[in-house]
């Protein structure tokens, strides 16, 4: 009896004992990291909507023996067992036992099948006003220039020895777009989903710190003071209504593999512009986006189990993600300088840095940096145009990338 009681007590202390083993140290490090993510989200307001659930998911995944991410059911085994009935062997019954962990259920529900990023995209589309972009469509080119970091980082990742698909998933951090990064990496490198997602969201939040030094380094005082005239073009409601449909068809025809990404963002925008489904618009930008963000955050955080996350590759992913965002800014501002020269000094090169998907943060950075040198310089609307162009550009670049990989996949 006493022995049984001791055995029972032993079971209760398994988790604590594990934390003080060599393997447990890793869990302790990850629990500290979870605390840091939660701290950054709650007290420093760094992407709180994501870092809080990601941090909590990370915390849950690193409590020893929690088994919240256990994939308990084998659908094939279940099917065979049902067919065999009572004659099914014990081993098969064990395989078919449905003890899937609570977070694994969420993961399977919306990350493994890429649903949650798409639901968030519908919300983003419903929240985005493309009018500044429509008023000056040429600004879309900044949205393309701002994605060059993706492709340059792909080369760097390959040089560091990452396999083709992993390199591609890492490079997509350069899209500066969390849902896109999750969508691509869950398809091609689900084993790297945790570090890639955390890197993507962390660097998105760090845009106001990463970009200004590069913007200053790459431009002259005269260029930074360039004033751009206010838009004079007016946009008809019909143009605003047809824009999402045209974008969906064009990008769908060019890169059908990436259509879910573009279609979801444009569906949200179409609902916003048509004005007939205001309830759906409100639901998309609030309830649906919020629920998807919560589940997505917890599920991403739970992929950060110590044995998978504390690897040299994680450090490499964070370094490459940083390089990707820097390269986006360098090429964007460089493209802005080309436009400055081509237009005889009518385009402020600073707006090139807004050609990424971090909306509206990148546009605000341009406005703040421009006003540091000329208080009367109002670049915000132009930067917003480039920034919304960056949103479309990042999705287009990801779509092009997916289409290319699909075409080349049989060769590697």
């Amino acid at each position: 009896m006493f022995e049984h009681m001791l055995d029972g007590l032993d079971g209760l202390t398994l988790g604590v004992k594990f934390l003080f083993t060599v393997g447990g140290l890793k869990n302790l490090v990850m629990l500290a990291l979870a605390g840091l993510l939660i701290y950054l989200g709650v007290f420093k307001e760094v992407e709180p909507l994501l870092l809080v659930p990601i941090g909590f998911g990370c915390l849950l995944a690193n409590i020893p023996y929690s088994e919240l991410m256990v994939q308990g059911i084998d659908p094939g085994a279940k099917q065979v067992m049902e067919a065999m009935g009572a004659a099914a062997p014990e081993a098969l019954k064990h395989l078919a036992k449905d003890d899937t962990g609570f977070i694994r259920t969420i993961y399977n529900m919306g990350i493994a099948n890429e649903l949650f990023p798409l639901l968030i995209f519908i919300g983003i589309g419903a929240m985005t006003d493309f009018t500044p972009l429509l008023a000056n469509p040429r600004i879309l080119l900044f949205g393309a220039a701002g994605q060059c970091g993706i492709f340059l980082t792909l080369l760097l990742a390959l040089a560091l020895g990452f396999p083709h698909l992993q390199a591609m998933a890492i490079a997509i951090i350069g899209a500066c777009d969390g849902p896109t990064a999750i969508y691509v990496s869950s398809q091609y490198a689900p084993e790297l989903l945790g570090p890639i997602s955390v890197a993507a969201y962390s660097y998105m939040a760090l845009v106001p710190i990463i970009q200004p030094p590069i913007m200053k380094f790459m431009t002259t005082d005269k260029e930074r003071r360039t004033r751009m005239p206010a838009f004079k073009n007016a946009i008809s409601p019909t143009t605003r209504l047809l824009f999402p449909i045209v974008v969906t068809i064009v990008t769908g025809l060019i890169a059908p593999k990436g259509l879910p990404l573009m279609a979801s963002i444009m569906l949200g925008n179409f609902m916003r512009e048509c004005g007939a489904v205001s309830r759906l618009v409100k639901a998309s930008e609030n309830e649906i986006a919020n629920v998807a963000t919560l589940f997505l955050g917890i599920a991403i955080g739970s992929t950060m189990a110590a044995d998978k996350f504390l690897q040299p590759t994680t450090l490499a992913i964070f370094a490459l993600g940083f390089v990707a965002i820097c390269l986006d800014t360098v090429v964007g501002v460089g493209f802005g300088k080309i436009m400055y020269l081509m237009t005889g000094g009518k385009v402020n090169p600073l707006i090139g840095s807004a050609g990424i998907s971090a909306y509206p943060m990148a546009a605000r950075v341009v406005q703040q940096e421009g006003q540091k040198y000329d208080k009367q310089n109002f670049l915000l609307m132009h930067a917003m145009g480039a920034n919304t162009g960056g949103q479309i550009g990042s999705v287009a670049a990801a779509a092009v990338m997916l289409a290319l990989v699909d075409a080349l996949r049989h060769l590697f």
Partner: protein, 47 residues
């Protein structure tokens, strides 16, 4: 396909593909603005 061929193909075709997509979209927007000018719609929104 070795990794460098893959990387360079992705980079060249990827960047070009993204720019071409954007260029087509610019053309499409210009066309939309021509077909549906703001003046024709009384409730046009000034940007």
């Amino acid at each position: 396909m070795d990794k460098w061929s893959f990387g360079l193909t992705m980079m060249i075709v990827g960047i070009s593909g993204t720019f071409v997509t954007m260029a087509i979209l610019i053309g499409a927007i210009q066309l939309l603005k021509k077909i549906f000018p703001a003046e024709a719609n009384g409730d046009a929104k000034k940007s």
